[in-house]
């Protein structure tokens, strides 16, 4: 996921009002990325192109960091004037924005582990139920979906290659420029991000065009940019840039011919997206319940350890609570999913399990404190009364103290459950597709922010509101016996 820094880098020396160009530098090799030698500086073949284009149209172009998935929405909102970040010209996108003539012809490249023998192409992968990873909201993702190949989408382009190396997925299908920088062992690539033990599987295929997106009514800007690209093609400047980044292929000669791509694709209808949202809601509920069960067990153990354990055990319990309450759950999820396999190779958790573990550990710390407060609120006299009847401590805890403490514990515990229910939306960073992520996926490709958004919100409310009522009901029912 990209940072939302609005760092503005002017390109070109002209004094006119600059064009604001949106792109994502996060893992953006070779398009636009932070120079590893000088992270303040944004470089890439699109940066070189922007510079050349600024000279051609006589207007400076200023780079603005955005997240890749939000580029078209940012354009529509007016946050940026142009979007250029390996955006494929597709019929679906043409319904929302206008594109310049192409500045690059890409193809898709399938990459697998070097020892892969089970498949040679997408059809074989599909037949064997192997999972292919790709970047979300791209033409590659659309192709996998249309061809019914089992696939998993990521928010960044490095994640799929990492997961491939870790054997979490079986192949990666992405645009050739990316595949070159992550899987081709060419020592001349200056900014190669080569992952070990990968190979290209078969020739690249399914070509398409990168264009610069502008708002449909910015016709003057569109004409200026097209003119600029024309001149960069004629002067050989574009070819020079692509050569510099080792991206030139004979296919690029087709850039000199005009191509026509027309807007198309169907609007998502309620009946199309509802089943997908319901499936996402199911994942949200399952994730919430399993994580909370783990949090309750951990919380109880830690609370008891902190209250009744010998000194070292007590310190451990305090350490657990302070540590897991003190770090953001997002960081924890990221570490469990990406960090642990990097430190201990082979210990690769399924994303759902990683999410359960992350939320369980995080919420376990909160539960532990709630239970400790609840248990401490029961007077010491209750322990003594039970002891005087010959009840041992463990029996007293289970039969006398805990049942009373539960009434104190229940209200904050239920509000934690509701909070967790909503917090589960952050698991998209480790590629678990739950309700919020499904909303993001659907709107990324097809728009429909309002209708799909309202449906998603309704699904959340249908589940969280009754949970609130249930907690109040239990509170009343258990309260009267006091």
């Amino acid at each position: 996921m990209g940072t939302l820094l609005g760092a503005a880098l002017p390109v070109g020396a002209q004094s006119k009002e600059p064009l604001i160009w949106g792109g994502d530098t996060d893992g953006g090799f070779p398009y636009v990325f932070a120079n590893p030698a000088n992270p303040e500086e944004v470089i890439g073949f699109e940066m070189d192109l922007a510079r050349a284009l600024a000279d051609e149209i006589g207007r400076p172009i200023e780079f603005k960091q955005r997240t890749y998935e939000s580029l078209l929405a940012d354009l529509e909102r007016g946050d940026i004037d142009i979007a250029m970040n390996g955006l494929e010209i597709t019929p679906k996108r043409l319904k929302r924005v206008a594109f310049t003539r192409p500045y690059y012809i890409y193809q898709l490249q399938l990459v697998a582990r070097a020892d892969e023998t089970r498949f040679q192409n997408l059809d074989e992968a599909k037949a064997k139920g192997l999972v292919i990873g790709t970047l979300g909201a791209t033409a590659a993702a659309e192709l996998l979906e249309v061809q019914n190949v089992p696939f998993k989408t990521y928010d960044d382009q490095q994640g799929p290659y990492d997961d491939l190396v870790q054997r979490a997925i079986d192949g990666v299908l992405m645009d050739l420029p990316i595949a070159i920088y992550y899987a081709a062992p060419d020592p001349r690539l200056k900014y190669s991000q080569l992952k070990p033990g990968l190979k290209f599987l078969g020739p690249s295929f399914a070509d398409g065009y990168y264009g610069i997106a502008v708002r449909p009514n910015d016709t003057k800007l569109l004409a200026d940019l097209n003119g600029g690209i024309d001149r960069l093609l004629d002067s050989g400047k574009l070819e020079e840039i692509l050569h510099k980044w080792k991206l030139w292929t004979p296919d690029q000669y087709r850039l000199y011919k005009t191509v026509e791509i027309v807007a198309g694709g169907q609007e998502m209808r309620f009946g199309d997206y509802l089943p997908l949202l319901l499936k996402g809601a199911g994942v949200t509920v399952l994730l919430t319940l399993v994580s909370f069960a783990l949090a309750v067990i951990l919380g109880l153990v830690v609370a008891v350890a902190r209250m009744y354990g010998p000194a070292p055990v007590r310190w451990l319990a305090v350490g657990y609570v302070e540590f897991f309450r003190g770090i953001p759950v997002l960081l924890l999820l990221y570490f469990i999913y990406y960090g642990i396999p990097a430190i201990i190779p082979g210990l690769k958790l399924d994303p759902f399990l990683a999410a359960v573990l992350g939320f369980g550990l995080n919420y376990g710390a909160y539960e532990a404190e709630i239970y400790r407060a609840g248990i401490s609120s029961i007077p010491r006299g209750q322990w003594e009364a039970a002891a005087s009847l010959g009840m041992p401590a463990a029996l007293t805890f289970r039969r006398i103290i805990l049942p009373q403490a539960i009434r104190v514990i229940l209200p904050p515990m239920t509000s934690d459950l509701v909070a967790l229910f909503k917090d589960t939306s952050v698991v998209s960073i480790i590629a678990v597709v739950e309700l919020s992520k499904q909303y993001q996926i659907l709107t990324k490709s097809g728009g429909g922010y309002l209708q799909i958004g309202l449906t998603t919100a309704a699904l959340y409310l249908i589940m969280s509101v009754p949970l609130g009522y249930l907690s109040r009901y239990l509170e009343q029912r258990w309260g009267h016996k006091g």
Binding site: E384, A385, A386, S388, L389, L395, Q404
Partner: protein, 246 residues
Amino acid sequence: MTWNIDIANVTKRFGPRLVLNEVSVSIQSGETVALLGPSGGGKSTLLRCLNGLNTFDAGEIRIGEHVLQPGNHAADLQAVRRVFGMVFQDFQLFPHLSVLDNVIEAPIQVLGWPRAKAVERAEPLLKRVGMAGHLHAYPGQLSGGQKQRVAIARALAMEPRGLLCDEITSALDPELKHEVLEVLEDLKRDGLTLILVTHEMGFARKAADRVVVLCDGKILEDGPPAQVLEQPRTERMKMFLQRVLG
């Protein structure tokens, strides 16, 4: 088997404060003993030492065949605690359990009785303390006197040899005190050993076989109520009686 109590040279400190100072006293099984004395004199502490709710620093307590020693949380502590039931000033009924469940909890959980047997024993006990009509009420619905009578039934359900009563009428209105004290007199007639920390001079005079007065961690007086309360030997005792009786 007799369940005599022998307290020998028991000393107990709370920080720098000497609460019990080499206290020695013997109590025969079946006796009713009132522990009197000014607040902070050590009487509640001594009572709680008898069933291990408080530990002590020196000396020894023998209860029948059981021996309690300093810091010694004996393996048979649970067995020691079952010799005497305990009733507290603030009742300490289990608020999440009904009257009946309060009484049968320990017999079922500790003695392993089947529920039917526990209920069969509990009902006459609750009837005896006048609470048969409230089996399914919860503690929150009862008056103080009713709570204390349930607490007595709960202690009796474990079939103890006697009861340790820690100021069990102090939190009650005068008319409610009366109903609890009546229950105690009834138990005394049955031959249970009763050790009562109390401020009820009238009850001590009428029902106790013996009055032991603790003051500043030492035994000030020990004898039949007529002697201790009517003809105190020490000036300290005379002053105490004047203050209490007004």
